[in-house]
Subunit: 172 residues, 2 copies
DNA sequence: GGGAGATACTTAACATGTTAAGTGAATGCG
DNA sequence: CGCATTCACTTAACATGTTAAGTATCTCCC
């Protein structure tokens, strides 16, 4: 019961299987990674033509939809960690795609918003981006896509507050 | 038909919605990213305790299951780009977790394999890792998990050979 | 058998992911 | 008021993602 037969896809691995584990290529993290990569591969070339990375695009989109936001709020919306966001905002600001001004009430906070140039850039990128998304939807099926996203959301939910684990226990 | 009502979740954004797009937070790439992050968040602490990153762990697992492999093959299996793999192999070799020897027949290729130390490390990490995976499976449901992975695979399939696009057309 | 082209990596350069530490500004409380 | 904490970022340091170049081999065909 401690061993498992070798995966049929590599029929002749001689040894080194002391540690039985799930078939590597079928782990959930790998499945998610591969799927996401398959999707992003479609978008990157178009973004690249406009000098944008995936993350920069996420930020612009987030800003376009929420008008102005504090950095922390933006990080949550664009799903980026603070340090990444900090760097990217610095660069986007240098390119005049966003604007930043410190809040009056609380000098620690700064409000970020998209600039006119930023809006213009979005207008240039959005059509292609939407077309690609439509193509993906069409290929995979709109219904299935909705189902998939539903399941992904449930997965996220079911793991919420598991990794945070030590919420009120040890603290070291 | 060119406009869409604002998302109900941010009822009062004043302007800057010149570019209508899907609700940002519900795009497929974001769903996949969030789901993957929710999963990986569970594993990272344990890996970290053993001084391993997610990618390093992927490589060790891949090597443990296929015995020895060329770098290119390993890149495909562990789903890493060549440059990343090159760096990681350099580091893993320095830590004596893997071994490398150039192939006799073709001096360009090198065969990579896991070392005894590498196997030992895997043995130390695997139990926790499997336990976490079991917990995730249990929370989300084994059946649903299988379904999800099935859909992810189909998504990948349906996009195969779309981004490669220019396979035999333009060439710069 | 020799040189053009293909292969299998490796390096380089820049951007982000991830964790820890730093900085300046608010807050709470004695 | 005064000062320790907390907060909202920003920097720093190290690892990987991503694309483009570089290097050493190998292949093939004239």
């Amino acid at each position: 019961m401690t061993k498992r037969p070798a995966d049929p896809t590599n029929g002749s691995a001689p040894a080194a299987r002391q540690v039985p584990m799930r078939d590597f290529s079928r782990s959930l993290p790998m499945s998610l990674l591969r799927a996401r990569e398959a999707v992003m591969r479609q978008f990157r070339p178009s973004l690249r033509e406009h000098g944008l990375t995936e993350q920069q695009w996420r930020i612009l989109r987030a800003l376009a939809s929420i008008e102005a936001a504090e950095v922390t709020e933006l990080a949550r919306t664009a799903f980026l960690l603070g340090p990444s966001l900090s760097r990217i905002l610095r660069d986007l600001e240098a390119r005049n795609l966003i604007e930043r001004k410190t809040a009056k009430a609380d000098q620690r906070r700064s409000m970020v918003s998209i600039s006119k140039e930023g809006v213009k850039l979005m207008a240039a990128v959005a059509p292609t981006s939407e077309a690609i998304y439509a193509e993906i939807t069409s290929r995979f099926g709109a219904r299935k896509l909705a189902e998939l996203q539903e399941m992904l959301g449930e997965l996220e939910q079911s793991l919420a507050g598991l990794g945070a684990g030590n919420e009120a226990s040890a603290e070291e």
